[in-house]
């Protein structure tokens, strides 16, 4: 079944005519994702990706006329919050926002609007979601995946690729890989994704990749201790050597007032029975030690 995206995904790409939008849409289609529409206000009626994808002026039209049920956003930071709200208004229930650099205060009313509409936002500032063998929404390279039963959730981009590659190399396939994004205000947290994995009959083990800043990893650990007993789980936390008070590339990756350190997160996860790796390449071995058999 996988979570968030899968065989039933009918994708609309918001910003399909942009450089990023076009490039990654091609990769998604090549992976087998059903891309049913793109949007570019003012170019409705035209087509994109060598005439294969119809362009609509609005997301509402893409939903109504092409049956889109999932959206991915490749629109610059100044327009991305509006793009999310447009997708919400069009009744899209799964919205993946790749855009980096959206001011945090812009996201506060947006995540609230998403919540009230009963929709789900992944990101922003995230690499997207892939359910290997079924659908790829976003920018995670197709080559690293192998279909399987391990759920992966991460705040990072390339670090996720590293971990997923290590798992694929070790023969451990993935059910769904979710990049939740590195910003302080994001639509979907570790906790949300853990709940989805728990309820997914096709996910048998979980890999979580966190980093310094905030307390989302601690909340995830508390959930795991209570509700994921018996589910093999391994984690990696980036930023053990990060100096306090400095923003480490991601807007949300900062140790402030002495909290949000890697040490706290690792301690919380270990206390919850989660195996924590010193290097992402150890994750497959730790999953096996936790009792997972592919």
């Amino acid at each position: 079944m996988s979570i968030l995206v899968g065989s039933d995904t009918r994708l609309v790409v918001q910003g399909i005519t942009g450089r990023e939008g076009e490039f990654h849409t091609r990769a998604s289609i090549a992976y087998g994702t059903r891309v049913v529409a793109g949007t570019r206000p003012g170019k409705g009626g035209q087509t994109a990706i060598d005439g294969t994808v119809p362009i609509f002026d609005t997301v509402a039209e893409a939903a109504r006329e092409a049956g889109a049920n999932t959206s991915v956003i490749y629109i610059p930071a100044s327009g991305a919050p509006d793009a999310i709200l447009e997708a919400v208004d069009a009744g899209i229930k799964t919205i993946v926002c790749i855009t980096e650099g959206i001011p945090a205060l812009d996201m506060i009313p947006v995540v609230e609007a998403v919540r009230r509409a009963g929709a789900r936002l992944i990101g922003p500032n995230c690499p997207g979601v892939t359910s290997p063998g079924r659908a790829k929404v976003g920018i995670i390279p197709a080559s690293i995946h192998k279909p399987g039963r391990v759920g992966v959730v991460s705040r990072s981009g390339t670090l996720t690729y590293e971990a997923v590659q290590a798992m694929t190399d070790a023969g451990l396939g993935q059910s769904t890989c979710v990049g939740i994004g590195g910003d302080p205000i994001i639509g979907t947290t570790f906790l949300d994704v853990l709940k989805l994995f728990r309820d997914d009959p096709e996910t048998d083990a979980i890999v979580m990749i966190g980093e310094i800043g905030g307390s989302a990893e601690e909340e995830a650990a508390a959930f795991a201790a209570e509700y994921l007993k018996g589910v093999p789980m391994a984690a990696f936390i980036a930023g053990r050597t990060a100096p306090p008070g400095r923003r480490m590339g991601h807007a949300g990756a900062i140790i402030s007032g002495g909290s949000g350190t890697a040490a706290e997160k690792i301690a919380a996860l270990e206390a919850a029975g989660v195996h924590v790796a010193d290097s992402p390449t150890q994750l497959p071995r730790l999953l096996l030690e936790a009792g997972y058999r592919a």
């Binding site: 981009g157 590293e162 007032g257």
Partner: protein, 392 residues
């Protein structure tokens, strides 16, 4: 981006908050002149505060009182040039010393858990709020602004009542709390802190005292993602306190943070860049920097980044770790080759490039005789060994 107290106070004033007047001085003579202005206007004493972007300046001796203009000049001479946590004090804020009756804490933050702006207040003002949070968490009161409607009057009132404020200071507190929220919104700040927010006594000529609430200190950090849409905020960046590499990194569009170690790191992606540093440490080395070249970096960005790494004389070895997604491995390899042509000193380097166009990258690197590695752990181990070899 952190900004100085004086600039933070200007942003608060712009939203109508009560901030006592101040002047910024860069020399003892300027301190003396500023002090004279306040003393002539009736101040009993003046306060001189170091303007630095690090906390703990009070403990470090960077905040002092003076009773005369001459004394102010002496104090100014002590504080200017002082080293506070590695930062040289280049300017001070001068103002009339307030007669403080009671100190409070008031701050607005972006609360990641509730995904709202949260205001925090405490009757334990004047000390670090993290300290209060550790010692007596119940002493900190919070309200979260409505995500669509903003901070509401009754919420601000509830907060004021919780820290013990009553008529006639309750309404002024509500105005200040709403003003903090407005300051945050108006500037895309991610933190606005007034500590202390103080009840001060002001004496009229006949000796009668009136009390009022004023913002005696101000700390604001701005969301880097919001800077571009606010004219004038970029000018508040304090270039004096920046690492000289920061401006260069901004120009290149990369994230670079200077650290104390000997192994220069060049990585694509923030999480992987932190991980690379962590692995360097894990294998017994010390990272010299955090460097994320971003997604889709071109060869000139790679070459510029390499130059920045090599400018640090402590760097004894370099570790390049690229997992190509949007970033093309061959583009990075070309940049590394270009950088080596321009390089002024020989530093051993290990390069690991996997993902998009890794095969092309491998060919380029082999032809140019670069030392390479295939796994992340191998790359880190090799870099550590190279750094130690170079030190001998």
């Amino acid at each position: 981006m952190k900004i100085q107290e004086a600039d933070a106070k200007s942003l608060l004033l712009a939203q109508g908050l009560p901030v006592p007047p101040w002047k910024v001085a860069r020399t003892p003579a300027e301190v003396e002149a500023a002090a004279r202005t306040f003393l002539d206007a009736g101040a009993g004493r003046v306060v001189i505060k170091a303007q630095v972007l690090v906390g703990g300046r009070g403990k470090a001796g960077g905040v002092k009182l003076a009773g005369s203009a001459v004394e102010a000049a002496e104090v100014g001479a002590q504080i200017l040039g002082m080293d506070i946590k590695g930062i040289t004090v280049r300017k001070v804020l001068v103002g009339a010393a307030a007669e403080i009756v009671k100190e409070y804490y008031l701050g607005a933050i972006i609360d990641r858990g509730s995904r709202r702006i949260t205001l925090m207040a405490s009757a334990e003002g004047g000390v670090e709020i993290e300290e209060v949070a550790r010692q007596d968490p119940a002493a900190i009161h919070r309200v979260s602004a409505d995500p669509l409607l903003g901070l509401l009057g009754f919420q601000a009132r509830t907060l004021g009542l919780a820290i013990g404020l009553r008529d006639p200071l309750l309404n002024p507190f509500v105005a200040i709390a709403l003003g903090l929220y407005a300051t945050m919104k108006a500037n895309d700040a991610d933190l606005v802190e007034v500590n202390p927010l103080a009840i001060v006594a002001e004496r009229a000529l006949d000796g009668t005292a009136t009390q009022s609430l004023v913002c005696l200190d101000a700390k604001i950090t701005l969301d880097d993602s919001g800077l571009a849409r606010h004219k004038g905020l970029e000018a508040l960046r304090d270039l004096d306190e920046e690492d000289p590499t920061d401006a260069e990194a901004r120009k290149l569009g990369i994230n670079f943070i200077h650290l104390d170690g000997t192994i220069g790191c060049m990585v694509n992606g923030a999480g992987l860049a932190m991980t690379t540093m962590d692995l360097v440490k894990h294998y017994g080395g010390e990272p010299a920097n955090f460097l994320d070249i971003g997604g889709g970096a071109r060869h000139e960005t790679v070459a510029g980044s390499m130059k920045l790494i090599l400018e640090d004389p402590k760097v004894q070895a370099i570790l390049v770790n690229i997992f190509g997604g949007i970033t093309r491995g061959d583009e990075v390899a070309a940049g590394l080759i270009e950088a080596r042509g321009q390089q002024t000193r020989e530093v051993p380097m290990v390069v690991r490039i996997v993902g998009t166009n890794a095969a092309e990258a491998a060919r380029l690197l082999a032809a140019a005789k670069f030392e390479t590695a295939t796994s992340l752990d191998e790359a880190a181990e090799k870099a550590v060994a190279l750094s130690k070899g170079a030190a001998r």
